[in-house]
Protein backbone atom coordinates (compact mmCIF):
# COMPACT_ATOMS: atom_id res chain seq x y z
CA UNK A 1 0.00 0.00 0.00
CA UNK A 2 1.04 3.55 -0.62
CA UNK A 3 1.69 5.94 2.26
CA UNK A 4 -1.38 7.59 3.78
CA UNK A 5 -2.01 11.11 2.54
CA UNK A 6 -2.15 12.54 6.05
CA UNK A 7 1.34 11.09 6.71
CA UNK A 8 2.71 12.69 3.54
CA UNK A 9 1.21 16.04 4.55
CA UNK A 10 2.64 15.75 8.07
CA UNK A 11 6.11 15.37 6.55
CA UNK A 12 5.91 18.86 5.01
CA UNK A 13 7.38 21.93 6.74
CA UNK A 14 4.64 23.77 8.70
CA UNK A 15 4.74 26.82 6.40
CA UNK A 16 4.47 24.62 3.31
CA UNK A 17 1.62 22.67 4.83
CA UNK A 18 -0.29 25.87 5.63
CA UNK A 19 0.23 27.13 2.08
CA UNK A 20 -0.86 23.74 0.69
CA UNK A 21 -4.06 24.13 2.68
CA UNK A 22 -4.65 27.53 1.01
CA UNK A 23 -3.89 26.13 -2.43
CA UNK A 24 -6.23 23.15 -2.08
CA UNK A 25 -9.00 25.27 -0.60
CA UNK A 26 -8.78 27.87 -3.38
CA UNK A 27 -8.79 25.19 -6.10
CA UNK A 28 -11.67 23.27 -4.51
CA UNK A 29 -13.73 26.43 -3.99
CA UNK A 30 -13.11 27.54 -7.60
CA UNK A 31 -14.35 24.21 -8.94
CA UNK A 32 -17.27 24.10 -6.51
CA UNK A 33 -18.50 27.61 -7.28
CA UNK A 34 -18.21 27.36 -11.08
CA UNK A 35 -19.73 23.88 -11.00
CA UNK A 36 -22.66 24.99 -8.90
CA UNK A 37 -23.15 28.13 -11.04
CA UNK A 38 -23.18 26.12 -14.26
CA UNK A 39 -25.67 23.63 -12.85
CA UNK A 40 -28.14 26.53 -12.92
CA UNK A 41 -28.33 26.02 -16.71
CA UNK A 42 -29.73 22.52 -16.33
CA UNK A 43 -33.12 22.57 -18.03
CA UNK A 44 -32.87 26.14 -19.40
CA UNK A 45 -29.75 26.25 -21.60
CA UNK A 46 -30.31 27.81 -25.05
CA UNK A 47 -29.90 24.46 -26.87
CA UNK A 48 -30.64 20.90 -25.79
CA UNK A 49 -27.01 19.96 -26.52
CA UNK A 50 -25.84 22.74 -24.23
CA UNK A 51 -28.25 21.67 -21.53
CA UNK A 52 -26.48 18.30 -21.55
CA UNK A 53 -23.03 19.88 -21.88
CA UNK A 54 -23.42 22.39 -19.04
CA UNK A 55 -24.87 19.72 -16.75
CA UNK A 56 -21.97 17.42 -17.57
CA UNK A 57 -19.40 20.20 -17.06
CA UNK A 58 -21.01 21.06 -13.73
CA UNK A 59 -20.91 17.44 -12.65
CA UNK A 60 -17.22 17.21 -13.61
CA UNK A 61 -16.36 20.34 -11.63
CA UNK A 62 -18.31 19.27 -8.55
CA UNK A 63 -16.54 15.89 -8.76
CA UNK A 64 -13.18 17.66 -8.87
CA UNK A 65 -14.21 19.86 -5.94
CA UNK A 66 -15.30 16.81 -3.90
CA UNK A 67 -11.96 15.07 -4.52
CA UNK A 68 -10.01 18.23 -3.60
CA UNK A 69 -12.05 18.79 -0.42
CA UNK A 70 -11.48 15.12 0.51
CA UNK A 71 -7.73 15.54 0.01
CA UNK A 72 -7.80 18.75 2.06
CA UNK A 73 -9.65 16.96 4.87
CA UNK A 74 -6.82 14.41 5.04
CA UNK A 75 -4.13 17.08 4.86
CA UNK A 76 -5.74 18.95 7.77
CA UNK A 77 -6.46 15.81 9.78
CA UNK A 78 -8.79 17.78 12.09
CA UNK A 79 -11.61 15.28 11.57
CA UNK A 80 -13.75 17.69 9.53
CA UNK A 81 -14.86 15.82 6.44
CA UNK A 82 -15.20 17.07 2.86
CA UNK A 83 -18.87 18.00 3.29
CA UNK A 84 -18.13 20.03 6.41
CA UNK A 85 -15.43 21.97 4.57
CA UNK A 86 -17.64 22.49 1.53
CA UNK A 87 -20.81 23.59 3.33
CA UNK A 88 -20.15 24.73 6.90
CA UNK A 89 -18.46 28.05 6.20
CA UNK A 90 -19.66 31.65 6.07
CA UNK A 91 -19.49 33.38 2.64
CA UNK A 92 -16.34 35.37 3.51
CA UNK A 93 -14.50 32.14 4.30
CA UNK A 94 -14.73 30.86 0.71
CA UNK A 95 -11.54 31.24 -1.30
CA UNK A 96 -12.74 31.11 -4.91
CA UNK A 97 -11.48 33.65 -7.44
CA UNK A 98 -13.38 36.90 -7.80
CA UNK A 99 -14.00 36.22 -11.50
CA UNK A 100 -16.62 33.69 -10.32
CA UNK A 101 -18.52 36.35 -8.35
CA UNK A 102 -20.42 38.02 -11.20
CA UNK A 103 -23.59 35.96 -11.09
CA UNK A 104 -24.74 33.59 -13.79
CA UNK A 105 -25.61 36.32 -16.30
CA UNK A 106 -26.62 35.51 -19.87
CA UNK A 107 -25.20 32.82 -22.15
CA UNK A 108 -22.40 35.09 -23.41
CA UNK A 109 -21.35 35.81 -19.81
CA UNK A 110 -21.38 32.08 -19.09
CA UNK A 111 -19.17 31.36 -22.10
CA UNK A 112 -16.78 34.26 -21.39
CA UNK A 113 -16.40 33.12 -17.77
CA UNK A 114 -15.97 29.47 -18.75
CA UNK A 115 -13.31 30.29 -21.33
CA UNK A 116 -11.30 32.51 -18.98
CA UNK A 117 -11.67 30.08 -16.09
CA UNK A 118 -11.06 26.83 -17.98
CA UNK A 119 -7.90 28.13 -19.62
CA UNK A 120 -6.62 29.60 -16.32
CA UNK A 121 -7.47 26.40 -14.44
CA UNK A 122 -5.63 24.31 -17.04
CA UNK A 123 -2.54 26.52 -16.67
CA UNK A 124 -2.69 26.11 -12.89
CA UNK A 125 -3.08 22.31 -13.28
CA UNK A 126 -0.07 22.29 -15.61
CA UNK A 127 1.87 23.99 -12.80
CA UNK A 128 0.97 21.10 -10.48
CA UNK A 129 1.44 18.19 -12.89
CA UNK A 130 4.95 17.54 -11.53
CA UNK A 131 4.13 18.37 -7.90
CA UNK A 132 6.29 16.85 -5.19
CA UNK A 133 3.13 16.34 -3.12
CA UNK A 134 2.22 12.98 -4.63
CA UNK A 135 -1.53 12.80 -3.81
CA UNK A 136 -2.10 16.19 -5.47
CA UNK A 137 0.02 15.23 -8.49
CA UNK A 138 -1.98 12.04 -8.96
CA UNK A 139 -5.33 13.80 -8.73
CA UNK A 140 -4.22 16.67 -11.00
CA UNK A 141 -3.05 14.29 -13.68
CA UNK A 142 -6.47 12.68 -13.71
CA UNK A 143 -8.33 16.00 -13.70
CA UNK A 144 -6.28 17.44 -16.59
CA UNK A 145 -7.52 14.70 -18.89
CA UNK A 146 -11.10 15.77 -18.22
CA UNK A 147 -10.46 19.51 -18.35
CA UNK A 148 -9.19 19.13 -21.92
CA UNK A 149 -12.83 18.68 -22.99
CA UNK A 150 -13.83 21.78 -21.04
CA UNK A 151 -11.28 23.94 -22.85
CA UNK A 152 -12.37 22.55 -26.26
CA UNK A 153 -16.00 23.34 -25.45
CA UNK A 154 -15.35 26.86 -24.15
CA UNK A 155 -13.04 27.75 -27.06
CA UNK A 156 -15.54 26.56 -29.69
CA UNK A 157 -18.31 28.68 -28.13
CA UNK A 158 -16.13 31.76 -27.62
CA UNK A 159 -15.20 31.69 -31.31
CA UNK A 160 -18.79 31.04 -32.36
CA UNK A 161 -20.10 34.09 -30.48
CA UNK A 162 -17.16 36.33 -31.40
CA UNK A 163 -17.40 35.61 -35.13
CA UNK A 164 -21.10 36.44 -35.41
CA UNK A 165 -21.48 40.23 -35.68
CA UNK A 166 -24.45 41.86 -34.03
CA UNK A 167 -26.05 40.60 -30.85
CA UNK A 168 -23.80 37.55 -30.19
CA UNK A 169 -20.57 39.53 -30.48
CA UNK A 170 -21.98 42.54 -28.64
CA UNK A 171 -23.13 40.42 -25.71
CA UNK A 172 -19.77 38.64 -25.58
CA UNK A 173 -17.89 41.97 -25.57
CA UNK A 174 -20.14 43.25 -22.78
CA UNK A 175 -19.50 40.10 -20.74
CA UNK A 176 -15.72 40.31 -21.23
CA UNK A 177 -15.88 43.98 -20.29
CA UNK A 178 -17.69 43.19 -17.04
CA UNK A 179 -15.28 40.35 -16.19
CA UNK A 180 -12.16 42.29 -17.24
CA UNK A 181 -11.13 43.67 -13.81
CA UNK A 182 -11.29 40.16 -12.32
CA UNK A 183 -10.38 38.06 -15.37
CA UNK A 184 -6.97 36.97 -14.02
CA UNK A 185 -8.00 36.45 -10.40
CA UNK A 186 -7.47 32.66 -10.54
CA UNK A 187 -3.81 33.73 -10.23
CA UNK A 188 -4.29 35.75 -7.05
CA UNK A 189 -1.09 35.07 -5.05
CA UNK A 190 -1.50 32.61 -2.18
CA UNK A 191 -0.23 33.23 1.33
CA UNK A 192 3.01 31.30 1.67
CA UNK A 193 3.23 30.69 -2.06
CA UNK A 194 7.05 30.97 -2.07
CA UNK A 195 7.25 28.03 0.29
CA UNK A 196 5.16 25.90 -2.10
CA UNK A 197 7.48 26.76 -4.98
CA UNK A 198 10.56 26.07 -2.88
CA UNK A 199 9.18 22.63 -1.94
CA UNK A 200 8.24 22.02 -5.62
CA UNK A 201 4.62 21.47 -4.63
CA UNK A 202 3.87 24.20 -7.20
CA UNK A 203 6.18 24.71 -10.17
CA UNK A 204 6.07 28.50 -10.35
CA UNK A 205 4.59 31.53 -8.53
CA UNK A 206 1.08 32.54 -9.58
CA UNK A 207 2.45 35.62 -11.40
CA UNK A 208 4.54 33.37 -13.66
CA UNK A 209 1.55 31.10 -14.27
CA UNK A 210 -0.52 34.16 -15.20
CA UNK A 211 2.08 35.10 -17.82
CA UNK A 212 1.86 31.55 -19.26
CA UNK A 213 -1.93 31.78 -19.31
CA UNK A 214 -1.83 35.09 -21.19
CA UNK A 215 0.53 33.56 -23.76
CA UNK A 216 -1.92 30.65 -24.18
CA UNK A 217 -5.05 32.72 -24.75
CA UNK A 218 -3.54 35.58 -26.77
CA UNK A 219 -3.67 33.70 -30.12
CA UNK A 220 -7.37 32.94 -29.61
CA UNK A 221 -8.20 36.55 -28.72
CA UNK A 222 -6.17 37.86 -31.68
CA UNK A 223 -7.82 35.41 -34.10
CA UNK A 224 -11.35 36.51 -33.19
CA UNK A 225 -10.41 40.18 -32.53
CA UNK A 226 -11.30 40.33 -28.84
CA UNK A 227 -9.60 42.66 -26.34
CA UNK A 228 -7.22 40.85 -23.99
CA UNK A 229 -8.15 41.14 -20.30
CA UNK A 230 -6.14 43.87 -18.55
CA UNK A 231 -3.95 43.24 -15.52
CA UNK A 232 -6.22 42.40 -12.60
CA UNK A 233 -6.37 44.11 -9.25
CA UNK A 234 -5.19 41.17 -7.16
CA UNK A 235 -5.02 43.11 -3.91
CA UNK A 236 -8.62 42.26 -3.03
CA UNK A 237 -7.61 38.65 -2.48
CA UNK A 238 -9.98 35.71 -2.46
CA UNK A 239 -12.33 36.76 0.35
CA UNK A 240 -14.17 39.87 -0.91
CA UNK A 241 -17.06 38.17 -2.76
CA UNK A 242 -20.03 40.53 -3.06
CA UNK A 243 -23.78 40.15 -3.51
CA UNK A 244 -24.19 37.46 -6.21
CA UNK A 245 -22.16 35.01 -4.12
CA UNK A 246 -24.30 35.71 -1.04
CA UNK A 247 -27.26 34.48 -3.04
CA UNK A 248 -25.40 31.46 -4.45
CA UNK A 249 -24.13 30.53 -0.97
CA UNK A 250 -27.71 30.64 0.34
CA UNK A 251 -28.72 28.26 -2.44
CA UNK A 252 -25.97 25.68 -2.14
CA UNK A 253 -26.00 25.54 1.66
CA UNK A 254 -29.80 25.47 2.03
CA UNK A 255 -30.15 21.69 2.31
CA UNK A 256 -27.17 21.34 4.62
CA UNK A 257 -28.39 24.16 6.90
CA UNK A 258 -31.86 22.64 7.10
CA UNK A 259 -30.43 19.45 8.63
CA UNK A 260 -26.63 19.43 9.15
CA UNK A 261 -26.50 15.82 10.37
CA UNK A 262 -28.64 14.25 7.65
CA UNK A 263 -27.04 11.45 5.66
CA UNK A 264 -27.90 10.27 2.16
Amino acid sequence: MTTARSTLAAALAPATRAALDELLLSMADDEFVIGFSDSEWTGIAPLLEEDVAMSSLAQDELGHAAALYALLAEVRADRRDADAIAYDRQPAEYRHARMLDHGRGDWAMTIARRFLYDTADMTRLDGLAGSSFVPLRELVNKIRREERYHVMHATAWLERLAERDGEPRERLLAALDELAPDAATVFTPLDGEASLVEAVVLAEPMAALEARWRATITPVFVRVRLPMPPAADLTRGRTDHGEPFQWLWGEFTSVRRSDPVATW
Binding site: V52, A66, A67, E138, L139, H153
Partner: protein, 176 residues
Amino acid sequence: MAVGRIHVGPAFGSGGDVVIEAVAVPDASVEAIRSALADVADPEIPAISIVDLGIVHRVDVSGDGRILVELLPTFVGCPAIEAIRSAVSERLAAFGRPVDVAISFEVPWTSERITPAGRRHLSESGFAPPAEPEDVRCPYCDSANVAMDNAFGPTLCRSLFYCRACRQPFESFKAV
Protein backbone atom coordinates in the same frame (compact mmCIF):
# COMPACT_ATOMS: atom_id res chain seq x y z
CA MET B 1 -3.58 6.19 -2.69
CA ALA B 2 -6.73 5.69 -0.71
CA VAL B 3 -9.28 8.50 -0.86
CA GLY B 4 -11.65 6.83 1.51
CA ARG B 5 -12.59 3.36 2.56
CA ILE B 6 -15.62 1.42 3.44
CA HIS B 7 -15.62 -1.83 5.25
CA VAL B 8 -18.38 -4.24 4.36
CA GLY B 9 -18.31 -7.78 5.60
CA PRO B 10 -18.02 -9.67 8.81
CA ALA B 11 -16.23 -8.07 11.73
CA PHE B 12 -12.69 -9.32 11.70
CA GLY B 13 -11.09 -11.02 14.63
CA SER B 14 -14.34 -11.51 16.51
CA GLY B 15 -14.24 -14.34 19.01
CA GLY B 16 -16.90 -16.94 19.50
CA ASP B 17 -17.39 -20.54 18.53
CA VAL B 18 -15.77 -22.04 15.53
CA VAL B 19 -18.47 -22.68 12.98
CA ILE B 20 -17.99 -25.29 10.29
CA GLU B 21 -19.34 -23.71 7.13
CA ALA B 22 -21.57 -25.94 5.06
CA VAL B 23 -20.63 -24.01 1.92
CA ALA B 24 -17.02 -24.22 0.83
CA VAL B 25 -15.31 -20.82 1.08
CA PRO B 26 -12.99 -20.29 -1.89
CA ASP B 27 -9.30 -19.68 -1.34
CA ALA B 28 -8.64 -15.97 -1.28
CA SER B 29 -5.83 -15.88 -3.81
CA VAL B 30 -5.34 -12.68 -5.79
CA GLU B 31 -6.17 -14.64 -8.96
CA ALA B 32 -9.41 -15.97 -7.47
CA ILE B 33 -10.40 -12.48 -6.32
CA ARG B 34 -9.69 -10.95 -9.74
CA SER B 35 -11.66 -13.73 -11.35
CA ALA B 36 -14.60 -13.06 -9.02
CA LEU B 37 -14.44 -9.35 -9.86
CA ALA B 38 -14.97 -10.24 -13.52
CA ASP B 39 -18.58 -11.02 -12.48
CA VAL B 40 -19.19 -7.42 -11.41
CA ALA B 41 -20.78 -5.43 -14.23
CA ASP B 42 -20.48 -1.70 -14.79
CA PRO B 43 -23.81 -0.29 -13.51
CA GLU B 44 -24.12 2.17 -16.39
CA ILE B 45 -23.14 -0.29 -19.15
CA PRO B 46 -23.94 -3.78 -17.84
CA ALA B 47 -22.42 -5.44 -20.94
CA ILE B 48 -18.92 -4.72 -19.66
CA SER B 49 -17.35 -5.94 -16.43
CA ILE B 50 -15.30 -3.68 -14.20
CA VAL B 51 -12.26 -5.84 -14.98
CA ASP B 52 -12.68 -5.37 -18.75
CA LEU B 53 -13.32 -1.68 -18.15
CA GLY B 54 -9.87 -1.52 -16.54
CA ILE B 55 -10.95 0.16 -13.30
CA VAL B 56 -9.66 -2.61 -10.99
CA HIS B 57 -6.22 -1.40 -9.92
CA ARG B 58 -4.58 -3.17 -6.99
CA VAL B 59 -5.88 -6.41 -5.49
CA ASP B 60 -4.18 -7.66 -2.36
CA VAL B 61 -4.66 -9.90 0.63
CA SER B 62 -3.00 -8.51 3.73
CA GLY B 63 -1.01 -10.51 6.24
CA ASP B 64 -4.01 -10.59 8.57
CA GLY B 65 -6.29 -11.89 5.84
CA ARG B 66 -8.15 -8.74 4.78
CA ILE B 67 -8.98 -8.36 1.11
CA LEU B 68 -8.02 -4.99 -0.36
CA VAL B 69 -9.28 -3.76 -3.73
CA GLU B 70 -8.38 -0.39 -5.25
CA LEU B 71 -10.59 1.06 -7.98
CA LEU B 72 -9.67 3.74 -10.52
CA PRO B 73 -12.69 5.92 -11.41
CA THR B 74 -13.13 6.56 -15.14
CA PHE B 75 -13.94 10.17 -14.21
CA VAL B 76 -13.19 11.92 -10.91
CA GLY B 77 -16.85 12.81 -10.41
CA CYS B 78 -18.25 9.45 -11.54
CA PRO B 79 -21.45 9.00 -9.49
CA ALA B 80 -21.50 5.25 -10.19
CA ILE B 81 -18.37 4.59 -8.17
CA GLU B 82 -20.23 4.11 -4.88
CA ALA B 83 -22.53 1.57 -6.50
CA ILE B 84 -19.47 -0.22 -7.88
CA ARG B 85 -17.84 -0.24 -4.43
CA SER B 86 -20.91 -1.86 -2.93
CA ALA B 87 -21.13 -4.42 -5.75
CA VAL B 88 -17.46 -5.34 -5.26
CA SER B 89 -17.95 -5.82 -1.52
CA GLU B 90 -21.05 -7.94 -2.09
CA ARG B 91 -19.35 -10.15 -4.65
CA LEU B 92 -16.27 -10.70 -2.48
CA ALA B 93 -18.32 -11.48 0.64
CA ALA B 94 -18.21 -15.10 -0.59
CA PHE B 95 -14.57 -15.25 0.50
CA GLY B 96 -15.69 -14.86 4.11
CA ARG B 97 -13.14 -12.19 4.96
CA PRO B 98 -13.23 -8.47 5.64
CA VAL B 99 -13.12 -6.50 2.38
CA ASP B 100 -11.78 -2.95 1.98
CA VAL B 101 -12.60 -1.16 -1.25
CA ALA B 102 -10.65 2.06 -1.82
CA ILE B 103 -10.75 4.67 -4.59
CA SER B 104 -7.34 5.49 -6.02
CA PHE B 105 -5.85 8.05 -8.40
CA GLU B 106 -2.37 6.52 -8.16
CA VAL B 107 -2.45 6.04 -11.90
CA PRO B 108 -5.07 7.81 -14.00
CA TRP B 109 -7.69 5.57 -15.58
CA THR B 110 -7.26 5.96 -19.31
CA SER B 111 -9.10 4.57 -22.30
CA GLU B 112 -6.17 2.24 -23.00
CA ARG B 113 -7.06 0.31 -19.85
CA ILE B 114 -10.16 -1.16 -21.51
CA THR B 115 -9.29 -4.74 -22.55
CA PRO B 116 -9.78 -6.03 -26.13
CA ALA B 117 -12.72 -8.10 -24.85
CA GLY B 118 -14.10 -4.97 -23.19
CA ARG B 119 -13.87 -3.01 -26.44
CA ARG B 120 -15.75 -5.80 -28.21
CA HIS B 121 -18.49 -5.85 -25.56
CA LEU B 122 -18.87 -2.08 -25.88
CA SER B 123 -19.26 -2.28 -29.66
CA GLU B 124 -21.79 -5.08 -29.37
CA SER B 125 -23.83 -2.89 -27.02
CA GLY B 126 -23.85 0.04 -29.43
CA PHE B 127 -21.07 2.06 -27.81
CA ALA B 128 -18.05 3.07 -29.86
CA PRO B 129 -14.89 2.22 -27.91
CA PRO B 130 -12.74 5.20 -26.92
CA ALA B 131 -10.99 7.02 -29.75
CA GLU B 132 -10.07 10.57 -30.63
CA PRO B 133 -13.20 12.21 -32.13
CA GLU B 134 -11.81 12.07 -35.69
CA ASP B 135 -11.14 8.32 -35.39
CA VAL B 136 -14.54 7.22 -34.04
CA ARG B 137 -16.37 4.62 -36.16
CA CYS B 138 -20.03 3.64 -36.05
CA PRO B 139 -20.50 0.60 -33.76
CA TYR B 140 -23.42 -0.60 -35.96
CA CYS B 141 -22.06 -0.38 -39.53
CA ASP B 142 -18.37 0.43 -38.92
CA SER B 143 -18.57 3.52 -41.12
CA ALA B 144 -16.13 6.35 -40.49
CA ASN B 145 -18.71 8.81 -41.90
CA VAL B 146 -19.81 9.97 -38.46
CA ALA B 147 -20.30 13.36 -36.79
CA MET B 148 -19.96 14.36 -33.18
CA ASP B 149 -23.22 15.93 -32.02
CA ASN B 150 -21.99 16.72 -28.54
CA ALA B 151 -18.74 16.10 -26.69
CA PHE B 152 -20.93 15.66 -23.60
CA GLY B 153 -23.45 12.88 -23.21
CA PRO B 154 -25.71 11.15 -20.72
CA THR B 155 -22.80 10.23 -18.45
CA LEU B 156 -19.48 11.98 -17.83
CA CYS B 157 -17.54 9.36 -19.81
CA ARG B 158 -19.57 9.39 -23.04
CA SER B 159 -20.00 11.66 -26.10
CA LEU B 160 -22.91 11.73 -28.61
CA PHE B 161 -22.36 10.87 -32.29
CA TYR B 162 -24.49 10.38 -35.41
CA CYS B 163 -23.68 7.94 -38.20
CA ARG B 164 -24.40 9.47 -41.60
CA ALA B 165 -24.09 6.08 -43.30
CA CYS B 166 -26.70 4.09 -41.36
CA ARG B 167 -28.44 7.15 -39.86
CA GLN B 168 -28.10 5.84 -36.36
CA PRO B 169 -27.27 7.95 -33.31
CA PHE B 170 -24.75 6.30 -30.99
CA GLU B 171 -22.50 7.06 -28.06
CA SER B 172 -18.74 6.87 -27.83
CA PHE B 173 -16.57 6.56 -24.77
CA LYS B 174 -14.50 9.72 -24.36
CA ALA B 175 -10.82 9.19 -24.94
CA VAL B 176 -9.10 10.31 -21.74
